[in-house]
Structure formats: C-alpha cells, structure tokens
C-alpha cells in the first residue's frame, strides 16, 4: 500500500492511535490476562494442558469441532459460490433483491436465526407439519438436535461471509477476460475453469478462512440447534468457565483454540499464497 492522500507516515500513525489504544485496552490486554490464567495457578504450571491432552473426551470434541467447521466451510462454499456468481452477474433490480437476501440475514441476530431453525426443525415444527400434511411422512422426523441440523443452521448463519468476498473478487474480473477466452476457443465450462475460477480464488480463500475460523469458535447455534449431545469446543469452554468455575482449564482450552485458529490462518496463507493469485500481482 502506498500513501496516496499525501498524509505523512507519522500523521497516519497518530490517527491510528486511538483505535490501537482501544484494541489494546479492550481486547489484547484481557486476552493476555485470561490466557495467562491457564499457565499460572498460582505458580507456573502446565497441568491444565496436560489434563486437556490426556483426556480423550476433550480431544474428541476438538476433533469433532474441526470436522464440523470443515464440513460447514465446504457446504457454504458449494452453495455460496453460485450465489456470489449470480450477484456479480446481475444488474439492476435483481441485483438488489439478491443482495438483500444475502445481507438481511447478516443484520439479523444469530440468536434469532437459530431460534428460527428450531421452529422449522422441531418435532411439531414447520417442516414436519408440512411433510405430514403432504402425506410424505407418517411419523414426524427427528430433525432438531442432530448433526445435520447443526451444519444446516451454521451454514445459514455463515453464508454471507462466504458469498461477499467471492462476489467481490468475481466483480473485479474485467468483462473482456471471459470474453477473450471464449473468442480464443473456450467452451463456457472452460471459461469458468481456466479463467473465472482461478481469478476468484483470492475471494474463495478469504471466504473459506473466515467461515472456517468463525465456525471453529461457534457457540450459540450449535448449543441451541444441536442440543446437549452436540459438544463443540466453545460449549466446553463455557461449561468449564461458568458451570464448573474452572477458569484455568477454560483458559487452556481457549488457548488451544486460539493457537489452532492462528496456525490454520498462517498455513492457509502460506500454502495458497493468496497474493500471487490476485489480479494486480
């Protein structure tokens, strides 16, 4: 990034100062304080980490959480890409309608959206009554409190985070590129696979990373829609912190989650070298 507006470096730094101070006071400091709880009890100890890694249940939950996040990421990508593509293509009124459909859920609280899924999926919910009245099922299906319900609701909540970055990288592709590809002999499919898809990869990467990381720490939706049997790592942290009041242990699980998230973010960037793919390399 070059400085455009003629601001000197020091002026810019000065302007960033209030926000930086706020971030340190309200975010970094509590985080460090909280994480240090996991290591000092009261003297330095690795006891909590030892317990975490020695208990099969906790490792299973961790594995389950990662798997859920992966599946949710894959599903949002598969469903979100075509929607992003549509948003990038459409002009005029339909563009607004689709954009509204994507954005309005984003402005609706997660709690509301999760409850909406409960209303739809429960035993006497909208879906079951509809299926029954159509004569498709005799017995109400168990939909709520299943792994499928968790994936479905999380996908719904996280969809905009996938769609928006993909949409913006699709929009950045100059119109004449797919046109040139077509003129040079590419079928529609090959225009997509050799031009559009590769050029939208930065958006795909950004979307996947964002959805995956948010999904790793998801709490409300799995807790509500997944019921007590679905344990995500964040549920575990809440349990330890607020029910069992074992703050050091809760802090150690949080630390593992944070390190995992950071690690994945770094690996993602390294492996896929997002900058190389961008249009203005």
């Amino acid at each position: 990034m070059s400085m455009r507006g003629g601001l000197s470096r020091s002026t810019a730094a000065l302007m960033a100062l209030p926000l930086a101070a706020l971030m340190i006071a309200a975010f970094v400091w509590p985080l460090v304080a909280f994480l240090s709880v996991s290591l000092f009890d009261p003297g330095f100890t690795l006891e909590h980490y030892a317990r975490l890694f020695a208990t099969e249940l906790y490792l299973e939950v961790l594995g389950e959480t990662i798997l859920t996040a992966l599946i949710v990421t894959a599903v949002t990508l598969l469903l979100g890409y075509p929607i992003a593509w549509m948003m990038a293509k459409l002009r005029g009124r339909w563009a607004w309608i689709v954009a509204a459909c994507v954005l309005i859920p984003l402005w609706t609280p997660v709690l509301v959206r999760s409850y909406a899924w409960i209303i739809i999926l429960q035993r006497r919910g909208v879906l079951n009554t509809t299926l029954a009245s159509l004569g498709i099922v005799d017995q109400p299906l168990t939909l709520l409190y299943t792994f499928g319900a968790v994936v479905l609701a999380m996908t719904h909540v996280l969809m905009p985070f996938m769609i928006l970055p993909i949409q913006s990288s699709l929009r950045a592709i100059p119109e004449e590129l797919p046109r040139a590809a077509r003129g040079l002999g590419a079928s529609h499919l090959r225009v997509f696979t050799s031009v559009i898809l590769p050029l939208s990869l930065p958006g795909v990467m950004a979307g996947c990373l964002m959805v995956f990381i948010i999904a790793l720490g998801f709490y409300i939706t799995p807790a509500l829609v997944g019921g007590p049997r679905t344990l995500m790592i964040s549920t575990l942290i809440t349990q330890q912190a607020f029910e069992l009041l074992n703050w050091p242990f809760a802090a150690s699980i949080s630390t593992v989650l944070l390190v995992l998230t950071l690690g994945i973010a770094i690996v993602f960037r390294r492996l896929l070298n997002v900058d190389r793919l961008s249009l203005h390399a």
Partner: protein, 370 residues
C-alpha cells in the same frame, strides 16, 4: 509456420456480410451493413465514437447476435455459430491478457482449448512469440510487461491458432503516440508477412489511412464509403467522409447550371464549378454542400479578376506548409495551404488575395446528407 493465413482462394471473399442489423433498444447500432473482405486484406473500420464499430466487430466475433442479416466466412454461414467455434482471432483494446497465466500460458491458451498436443503446442507458442519478437519472455507474467509488450503477447495469442480472420478493436489505443507509430509499422509488416486477413477498428484516421488496403467509413451504424485510402481522400462519397478524412472546407451553395464538364454553382462569395460525387443526381436550383481540400485551393496575392476575392485573416506556420485563413466576401472563412517559401505565406493580415480551385477538386455533395 503460419501458412493457413495465406491467401488460398484467389480473390474469394474471406468474409462477407449481408444486410447485418443490430439494435439495442431504440438504438440501431448496426444498420444494414454489407461488406466483403478479401483474403489477405487489411481493412479498417473508421468512424466517430458511438458509430457502431465495436458492435460490428462483436457481431463478427459472435459475442453479440445480429437481429438480421448474414455473416459468411469462406462460404460458411457463421451467423449462429458460437464465438468459440468461429475460427476468428481477436485483439482487444486493453489486450485482455489472463493475469494469472504467464506469457507462454496465455499464448498457449487457444491451442490448449483446441486440444493441440503439448509438444506441438510449445513449438507453436515459441514460433508465435518469435513472430512478435518476444522470445525470452515465456515465463513473465503480464503485469511484468510494458504496454507494447502486452500488446504483442495479445497479438501472438490471436495468431497462434492461425485463425481465418483477425479482428482488432483499437489495439494500439492504449499506447502513447510514439509507440503507436512504431507498432503500426510492425503490425502492418507482420500482417503482410503472414498474409493475414485483418479487420481493424480505429477512430484515428491517420492510422487507418497508413495501414489499410481499404477503409470502411462508419457513420451511425452504416457504411458511408468503402474505398482505398487514396480514393477516400481524392473522391469522398459524402460531406461526412470528406470532413472525416483529412482537412476540408465545407460550405453551402446552389446549383445554377448542369454541364457536361461539371456543375456551375453559386456560393456566397462568388460562382464556382464543381464535380458531382458519383451516384448523386442534381437539379437546377438545388441546395448542395461543397467541399474543397485546403491544399487544392490556389492563393494569389492581389485582387485578380478570375478568382474569389478575399482578405487575409491569419497565416499559420505548420512546418511543412502554411495555412492561410481567408475571409471571403460574404464573411465566411476558407482555409488554404501554401508552401512556406511562397510569397503568399508571408502576407499580412487584411491584405487582398484571390482564391481559385480546379473543378475536379471542388466536390459537390447532396445537401442534408451530412
């Protein structure tokens, strides 16, 4: 290497267009265009902004579908053939290189799409890059190239699969003037070497005149005139063409008398004799447009009895010639060019002169058609 470009069918048309029409809502962007392009010909489409040049090219390439008419390539109707099956190479104004592919991958793209085997592909990519003098740039990314180099890559990519026709939409438009001149010469040379059939869109008349075998002057979706650069200049078919190509003095006059040697006209500054443009018919008393090129107007100092009396308004030195701005008797202004060493070039403001022009240099156009 690139032999299929060569003129194969004698003088058969590489491309013929019949009554092509394209509308965008109420705008008729292509208004009944008919055109034949011979194999190996370099044809330019020249016209003002919004006249429909790009639209015509898009119709030929298949990116737009015509509302009427027919496009034939080597006697095959391609009007409904999708763009990827048309055997047409295209160079875009902003090159449209794929930013995520190297130079070699860009040039190999059309071959890959056609299923050309890898070994053959590499050889042809090399040959094409050699043709545009870009060997050694195989692994560069487009962003690492200058404008001129990008343009050459785009060109190599368009010729590598040896298409029947090359379309270019202002391919030099994004280059600075000096590089543009250089590339004009190179492009023309390359086209000659390959024997390629080229349709070239530009709104730079100098460029069109310098490069083309024939130029189609497009105005409001129609071809005003299709002719060699020389003919366009020496015998413009309409006041529009006369005005668009080179410099011209345009003014109104009235037909006095029709004679075999020319039309006798009355203008605001005196009588004159002109030559009607082919295909137009005139009658006595009709209002017409008259066009005379500045360099075809003879200027003499003093008030001679056989010319149009005028006064010097200004003389402007252009290097190779001097433009004389003359105020005629009715107050209108005519421009004439004289050699810098002529006595008339150094006349002062207000001095009396007389102007004249030979009948064959006085173009008479129907009025209202401009």
């Amino acid at each position: 290497m690139m032999t299929p470009h060569k003129n194969q069918g004698g003088d058969s048309a590489a491309l013929s267009i019949r009554s092509l029409v394209k509308r965008y809502g109420s705008v008729v962007a292509t208004d009944g265009v008919s055109l034949d392009v011979s194999a190996g010909e370099f044809m330019s489409l020249l016209g003002p902004s919004g006249s429909g040049k790009t639209t015509l090219l898009m119709l030929l390439a298949g990116f737009e579908v015509a509302d009427g008419g027919e496009i034939r390539m080597r006697d095959r109707d391609i009007s409904r053939v999708p763009p990827n099956k048309r055997d047409i190479g295209m160079v875009f104004q902003r090159y449209a290189l794929f930013p995520h592919m190297s130079v070699a991958q860009n040039v190999a793209f059309p071959l890959r799409m056609r299923g050309v085997a890898k070994a053959d592909r590499e050889a042809r990519v090399r040959a094409a890059l050699e043709t545009v003098e870009l060997t050694g740039y195989l692994d560069r990314m487009p962003a690492q190239l200058s404008g001129g180099q990008q343009q050459r890559v785009a060109l190599a990519r368009a010729i590598v699969f040896e298409p029947g026709i090359l379309l270019m939409d202002e391919p030099l438009g994004a280059l600075d003037r000096k590089l543009r001149k250089h590339m004009q010469v190179e492009l023309k040379e390359l086209q000659g070497r390959l024997g390629a059939t080229v349709i070239y869109v530009t709104h730079d008349q100098e460029e069109a005149l310098a490069m083309s075998d024939r130029v189609a002057i497009i105005n409001a979706g129609r071809i005003e005139q299709l002719a060699t650069p020389r003919e366009l200049y020496d015998a413009p078919a309409s006041a529009f063409v006369g005005d668009f190509i080179g410099e011209i003095n345009l003014f109104d006059a009235k037909v006095e008398e029709l004679e075999s040697g020319g039309i006798k006209l009355a203008s605001g500054f005196g009588p004159l004799t002109g030559t009607p443009v082919p295909g137009a018919t005139f009658s006595r008393g009709q209002k017409v447009h008259v066009g005379i090129r500045p360099e075809r107007i003879a200027v003499r100092a003093g008030a001679a009895s056989d010319g149009w009396q005028a006064g010097i308004r200004q003389t402007i030195f252009n290097g190779s010639n001097v433009t004389v701005y003359a105020t005629m008797q009715d107050g209108q202004e005519l421009r004439a060019t004289v050699a810098p060493n002529d006595r008339e070039a150094s006349l002062a403001r207000g001095e009396a002169i007389s102007l004249s022009a030979a009948p064959r240099d006085v173009f008479v156009f129907p009025a209202g058609a401009a």
